[in-house]
Symmetry: none
Subunit: 141 residues, 4 copies
């Protein structure tokens, strides 16, 4: 048997709070999801004005990032036509997201969860996800 | 066109906080989802110890309660063998929940959203959902 | 090869108009779907106050009634515990509806389409679907 | 709580009528769907000769346009190979449509619903959707 370390609900709230603070700064209301290292949902919030189509997309970005231990935008690069992972975007019923905005949450070299953000451009989504992680990391001293 | 009133994110947080307080009182960690009057997800939290299978169940209980403007346990009664709505439990890809724990959130006679709770017995789930509503209603003065 | 007779869009509108008239009479706003004899959707309307969960249910009742050439409430009887079609309600990803409110539309002994209604009790749904058919039949002289 | 404005059934009928008039002008029978601002279906019609595969496509174009508050052809541009949203087309179980023909319906600066059209070329679909909106807007005085 083994022991694993993962995000808890309090961590998820901190990640979401950090993400929302940055979303407000850039003026783009977001859908934000946080999952644990097993890619299971812990918490989700749709900010006022967040898109309803982005609910599922945020959930699936977090799912992909934690489950695959990889940022979703990295899949974007490797799934281009001619690239090795071409077509992976329709895997798992379309849940495997290759659009930026999903980031694994890493601590001490191990993936402990994932955060997924959607409603803006992929670059905005990714920046808001990173802001959530930065806010959370600043409290891990 | 028409105008409708619905829950916002702050309302969803209050509903979840009220539900979690009661879940702690009875010692049963829960998954809790809140949707708006169009059955679109606003917020979700899985408490420490909440069941991962209950994530989808809580989401779908909230979806059913707001979308059908009816408590999920009412469907439980009307969908028994021999009753008129027998078999409704597999509708909408199985998302239509007939197990207690999903309640519409009503204000001034109109459904403004829904709350879905899962991880305990259906009676516990329903009591926790009601506690969320009671906590929220106490603030609507 | 063969030639088949089926409902057209104008028929679908007449069926829906007849159903909506009865829905207004009984004061229950409904979701109403009409499909052709191949169970393919022709038209749909959600009346003001119709339930959003009933959208899919109305579509699937019409689909079942036309596709199986059988009223959905007949499946309700034959799918009870111990009966021959027990469990059929989860077939086709849950689209096979066994709750009343789906009726085949028959003309000259052949099924030419189907109508599905949802938002009320199964008895109300079925009565509204029948009213749509009666209204349409009255024009087929 | 908050208050929002959305399309009602009468609006949906006007949008569809305007779209169908243009579809007849260009001689391309269409599938046409209208959803509210929460991306929930209000009404649908398949014109005589509209494609049965286009039923779901029209529904999903309307869903995408209202839910994401963006025309589907804009996703077409941003989801090309090498572009930021590459791969988004398989999101939400493939419901997120990036092919032209889905337009948000906007009034007083807010998205109040969406219209989705399918059966012709994407350019034809988009023109027919726009004609529906133009017809509806002409009545909003």
């Amino acid at each position: 048997m083994k022991t694993i370390t993962r995000l808890d609900l309090e961590d998820a709230r901190v990640l979401i709070a950090g993400a929302e603070a940055h979303a407000r700064e850039i003026g783009v209301p977001m859908c934000i999801a946080v999952v644990d290292e097993s890619a299971q949902l812990i918490a989700f919030e749709r900010m006022e004005g967040g898109k309803v189509t982005s609910t599922t997309i945020a959930l699936d970005k977090a799912f992909t990032a934690a489950g695959a231990k990889k940022a979703t935008h990295e899949y974007g690069a490797s799934s281009q036509p001619g690239a090795p992972a071409y077509g992976i975007f329709s895997a798992i019923g379309g849940r495997l997201m290759v659009v930026g905005g999903g980031l694994p949450v890493t601590f001490d070299g191990a993936v402990v969860g994932g955060i997924g953000v959607s409603s803006g451009t992929p670059a905005q989504d990714q920046a808001v996800a990173q802001a959530g992680i930065d806010h959370w990391l600043a409290q891990q001293k």
